[in-house]
Assembly symmetry: D3
Homo-oligomer: 159 residues x 6
């Protein structure tokens, strides 16, 4: 592929015409993370914290699901898609809250941006809920883990 | 500060009551980036590319501005705010497209999440517009650079 | 059915994966009502009132239709659906404005929540348009009357 | 008050001009409820259930807060308002999940509809999360409990 | 004024910073129209028609009010504003449905785009409701009639 | 066709039930324009101007695409549709910025309103970006150029 599919011949923004593409089951999984601080982590691991992690992560899960559904309103050249599934999973790994977002549809174009948007909005929500402790948190790296069902599959190699 | 401001005493999600806070000029600046690949960078630096960077970045700028305005619809416990300014600046630094988003309001609560959301949506849009070339791009790190006008100012120390 | 379909095995909110369900014609009808006061009813039955009922109910009909289309943005675990029909009917029955909302789609999941949301938003709109007279109005009961086209049909028994 | 404030002299829908009203602190509290069935209640009171009530109610709390923020997009003649607080509280009382929604602003018009919308969307969300068990649930009655800060205060008398 | 306020020095889209502007009462009135065909006009003037004009125009009024409230989500560089009034008036003048939209706010920037957007969405809605008869309708001209309250007032000269 | 498809037998607003219509490829093209002033045109044709036309038109293109996707949220009786393509093209013709918007879907109802909405929002955006120079601009005429794929095709005759 040697040109920008989202720009027309004059260099103007252009939505891809997906009308001729096959209707297939499409899935994409994206990952983001919030690099927490020791202060926040200690709260999450103490007794008091354990009880807090539930609602913080659940709020982020819901925000991420809603965010994935807003993808085509946020990313200008994305197509509106009837998503059949959005799932968000959040785990503490080391010092990070690691978010995985899976998006699925049965349609004519892929759902990578929906998965990436869902993961990003979940990360922003965790940040929002912990920001009273510190602003030293960092969001990312955020990337696509895999996608299937389109013209070409993709699986991220282990870093 | 020793507890989650976004959880009530029973651990349920809770929006902060900002009704008693002062109305002040508030500003926040956030940074995100998209780590591009050599393939994409070479397209951006060639003649053909130079003409493409404009519309790619301008689309991302507009998406970021619109995204910042959607912040309180995306992040569940954010307050709706009449933003007086959202600005997005994008530069190629090394191999990265570096995005800075400034948000301003005259209100009772800060605009950190608006700045972070604007920067994140701009980054997602650059990813979307370049993804026909490769899915090896990585978004982030994304963080707050500075904020002013609230109870406490913040400036990120150089890494 | 013995578990929450909207919670995963760890108790976190989870959207049902409807990708494997059949695409069928689906219909749902929900009912809500606004219990009006004698003051409002008298206005609606007088000459002056008759001419007012039209625009009050028409505003509620439009709001209800628009509300049903917003269902998946309002109810976190609902799927976005291409609705083929939303209809709202409002009648005065006794002292109540009785609202029926029908929703239809050709898809992989039902439209109960769309019908309930449409009826609820129409009821809220009637309340809004009459609230200058009194706040003694009561909305509800709101319930599903029937649904068809999915794995199991439902018809409400007369109370 | 003897006429519809939301209709003009020709009977057409009309938004009230609040430009000349005082800017005051305004608060409104609304209540809704979901009448649950014995089956759902037994699940909520068993061990398995106890762990489920958290995420069901937390999802409803977040949906209700987001719904209140969408009020002026849902109810045609409502004004967009910079809400300073939305709070949702949900309790099991008898066989009902009882929802209270408080909304606050510092502005030129009241927040009754925001509170009623927040409570209604939270109720719809509880319905959605429990509907795999039964469709015999009933939403309502939904009403305003109190409002303060405008031209006239209101407090609902005990039924 | 000699440069584009919505482009920065590098030619990128840029929202104006209105933080330093005075908070004043601002009003704008815009006009649009739908040029109807004889067929539609005859329906509107017959007995059958008279009863139809009400709901067609009322639907357009509500859509226009809601559209004006969506202005900052539709027009990328517009600021979100707490509108204190949106009013839509529609009259048959000659062969045209003439729409006037007034928008008001108390804020730091004008409401011309809100008025123009409200008038345009009302016009599109009339078109939608009459398009089963013919697609020969034409929308426009659409223009600003007047605005007051900002740095400079404007009143359109009679054509 | 001899009656309003968007009104029911009682004259209330009513969404057409498209559930029984065929799923076909549908396309519609609409045109709008902004009548610019000599002052703005001179800026666009000078050297300084040439560099400005890009970002002004690109912002309008993106706004128009996003606007077309919002059609069913703006026009009350429109169906939500999974658009497969929205394209916006803008040219200076004489003293006008002429906008063409093409919309496509594979569905049960046409996309005329999506095309007209996209063209209108793009026109409003050009107006917004040039309004610091003058408010003497006029938007329109806006009309449908052609549509195909439904029960009846349409092509506008040359004026």
């Amino acid at each position: 592929m040697s040109s920008f599919t989202h720009l027309d011949s004059q260099g103007n923004p252009s939505m891809v015409d997906v009308g001729a593409k096959n209707i297939t089951e499409r899935i994409a999984i994206a990952e983001s993370r919030v690099q927490l601080t020791d202060e926040i982590l200690s709260i999450f691991s103490e007794g008091e914290l354990k009880s807090k992690k539930g609602p913080v992560f659940q709020t982020a899960i819901i925000a991420g699901i809603q965010g994935a559904k807003q993808c085509s309103n946020l990313i200008p050249l994305c197509h509106p898609l009837p998503l059949t599934k959005v799932g968000i999973d959040i785990k503490i790994v080391g010092k990070d809250a690691v978010i995985q977002c899976v998006a699925k549809t049965k349609g004519q174009t892929g759902v990578e941006m929906e998965a990436l948007t869902g993961a990003s909005v979940a990360a922003l929500t965790i940040y929002d809920m912990c920001k009273a402790f510190t602003h030293e948190m960092v969001i990312g790296p955020t990337y696509l883990l895999e996608k299937h069902g389109g013209k070409s599959d993709y699986e991220r190699k282990t870093p």
